[in-house]
Symmetry: D2
Subunit: 267 residues, 4 copies
């Protein structure tokens, strides 16, 4: 039987409170559920029929998607707004959405990234992976390869590979294009490159991007530092073997996301 995981950041008491209230309502209806601190080192073992409910903002969603992806389960996003800007979400509305998702097995697929480190480990990212200068006042010097063909060498704040889902995030800030969620591509975008072409390159997601550094650098996946590279090290970024399965919601519609971004940016 499907299990519901209510996922939130441990520091967000507002989200924890909503999670507890929703858990009560689900338990009353005999729907098995648990609370999950999505920023905890240990995450539960998830099965494909389960649902991970993300209660919070973008950061919570990215971590909840990672937990769901590990078990090929679906993730359902409930936006509570940014920390300190709590939206008024009724717990009963959340419970309703969960029940609706349990009875309707529909979902959207969103491609994610697999980020392979020199150690052999692989990490998940839904939005983007960056190879980034380690520390203020430095730049990273990195050469990019597309299917092992040498592309450009950048001297930049960072070099990023984003998914279409991540195209409206850090990629957008760095000047990258907005990309339709259904297009099978990787977007390679430099952040503040010095005296080099600053355009993004959009490649088929059957390709692999390799980023090799000449300098010490951090690897960042969906906003979390996952490794530090030494001179000469490479990171390989490719499409994850399976997509993230997302319970459809208007929050995931591209043009709506752009309009919201514009309103917030210029208010």
């Amino acid at each position: 039987v499907a299990h519901v995981y209510l996922s939130y950041f441990s520091e967000r008491l507002d989200a924890a409170k909503v999670a507890l209230e929703v858990a009560d309502e689900l338990t009353e209806r005999n729907i098995p559920c648990s609370l999950v601190e999505c920023n905890s080192a240990t995450t539960p073992t998830i099965h494909p029929d389960d649902i991970v409910v993300s209660l919070g903002g973008d950061g919570t969603f990215l971590r909840s998607a990672r937990i769901a992806h590990a078990g090929n389960a679906r993730v359902l996003g409930v936006s509570l707004g940014r920390l300190g800007f709590l939206l008024h979400v009724q717990p009963s509305a959340v419970t309703g959405s969960v029940i609706s998702a349990l009875s309707n097995t529909g979902f959207l697929e969103r491609q994610a990234l697999s980020v392979s480190l020199p150690t052999g480990e692989s990490y998940f990212a839904l939005n983007e992976a960056l190879v980034e200068r380690s520390g203020s006042g430095r730049m990273v010097r990195a050469t990019t390869f597309i299917d092992e063909e040498e592309y450009l060498t950048y001297h930049a704040d960072a070099v990023m590979v984003a998914t279409p889902t991540g195209s409206t995030g850090h990629n957008f800030s760095a000047g990258g294009p907005v990309v339709d969620d259904t297009v099978p591509v990787l977007i390679l975008t430099p952040v503040a490159p010095h005296f080099t072409i600053d355009r993004s390159i959009v490649v088929n997601d059957s390709r692999q991007v390799r980023i090799q550094v000449e300098t010490k650098a951090d690897v960042v996946a969906d906003g979390n530092v996952i490794a530090t590279l030494s001179e000469g090290d490479s990171v390989r970024i490719s499409r994850a073997t399976h997509p993230v399965r997302v319970v459809a919601s208007p929050d995931f519609e591209l043009i709506g996301r752009l309009r919201r971004g514009l309103r917030e940016g210029h208010a």
Copy 2:
């Protein structure tokens, strides 16, 4: 039997001379061939087994591709450089390429655009279509729709839809991303937009882009004005029903094109 069309701009005497020499060599080998002025109003009727050989620069290739596409024939590009910067191309090398292409029926597919005008007519474009201010010192005011969902309204020099093949052309100049030739997308890029988001949006090429103008505007396909729009008119741009078939050559390789562009731009 396959026919070879040697295509060039009537004003480029250098290209006409190469065309004549190649025609002589092909005739000696009993390969049927004709000369085609690609900027002429009348173009020959082409069959799928024929080959159109483009002798000139980018402008010649775009027109030759159009002629080939009308008959679903292949196009073979021979770069003679820009006008006044003639490359030293041996006619015998061209003849060799043609003979090789006749015996090897391989080709690359490149998506093209179908540009539908208010009159009901449709035009072909391989690189890009623009809706552009008519005359210096004005701007075009245009609203864009993606599959009839309203997207952004631009006040700009022009609003462009480019193919991946065209991504390294005017789209690149206008700040658009470089896109892998094999990705099935349309790229919507504004040219010098005023106080609006200037990022490109990359959408699945199963979608249709409509551009509706509030002001008089020109429609430009691959560099040629094909229509003038009145206030309220719309242009619809979508993937052409069939792709252009291109005889493979190193000139068509993406990263090579970028490197050449960089060398020319910064020499």
Copy 3:
């Protein structure tokens, strides 16, 4: 005695109507005044004590400023909004502003450009001068010189020199910086340059910019084509010998102009 010129575009009947009403009110007060069609070929002879009142939008202001500048008179801008988006301006408020300006001789200085053509003629521009491709689908190829030192060669839609006043206009659309009105600079900004540095360069306005073309090109000053260049021709752009004198108004405040631009761009 100071004369008031009420300036408007002949096609804007809304502006002509306001001009007539203001003229009536000024005449009642024995203030000498005339109507001026700012897009007419012939313009009145103006004296330094006179005031040119611009009734219309940005285009009207640029032409009115030119007329005022020729006589070193002051220009007073009254925004009636864009054509078709008439703002509700009370004629009596305009009359009040004019009377106030006649009794208070204060003004702001705004640097303008002198655009020298190969013929030896010089033209005025308040916002910007462009050397621009002549016709759709082409590019202009131009080399820039700063005080006769060779700078970059562009292959672009246009190459522009803007004033700080013009920095929020076409320069902004083309990616150029916003510049404080009181800074003594010229801003050189390419429009959609191909494979070249697309950053603006901001130079001291004691310097002269020369733009030499390798291709046919148009010269455009404040949105009007003033000349056509042949291959090899140069245009020289420098600070005008004297500034434009503008009657201060909140419309001329930089940050306000940006906020208005943002609201219009994103509404």
Copy 4:
């Protein structure tokens, strides 16, 4: 009598070696000189007639300029190239430049920044000061004020104020304009701003820029973290009370710097 300070990074043994050889040659000529590790916490007391010779790359020059500026002495830059890419500079040529500078008291003035922290302390920067996200995967949220008039609020990797001298550095990477060294301005440039205007604003350097953060942030001056800000804190950035005095050299010529940058960026 004028004293010569030979300044280098302690980690660059190549620079230390050149410094020692130059010191020997100066001592032979009875010119008083000392070695200075420019990254040391303690710096010597400098007098206006002294010369600080920067032996290294850009980082060395920025620190040497700071040391010279504190005593209103001149700084002379000798480029040894980037670490690992040593240029072949003859120590005798350096000695010659020093002797020439001692007998010729000419110099260029380059404006610098004074960065005022909430603690009341002020720091020097020659190129730029940034208010920057503290840590990967976050953004800084900051509101900018120009002479205490509120300008834009950014959600970005960083918000930067650069000098004309710094305009070809990090400012350029972030999309900012190149600015003539002799223009008296501050350049405000956001780094990777989200859904906001990404253009730079160039203001008279008589103005003060204040950056107030809503989030924890680092303050970085010429590449060194000088403070950490808490929510609500402000940094004030204005022109330093006196300029840096630079011994003229072709390395300081704007167009030359751009050409070098292009060659390095695209080689």
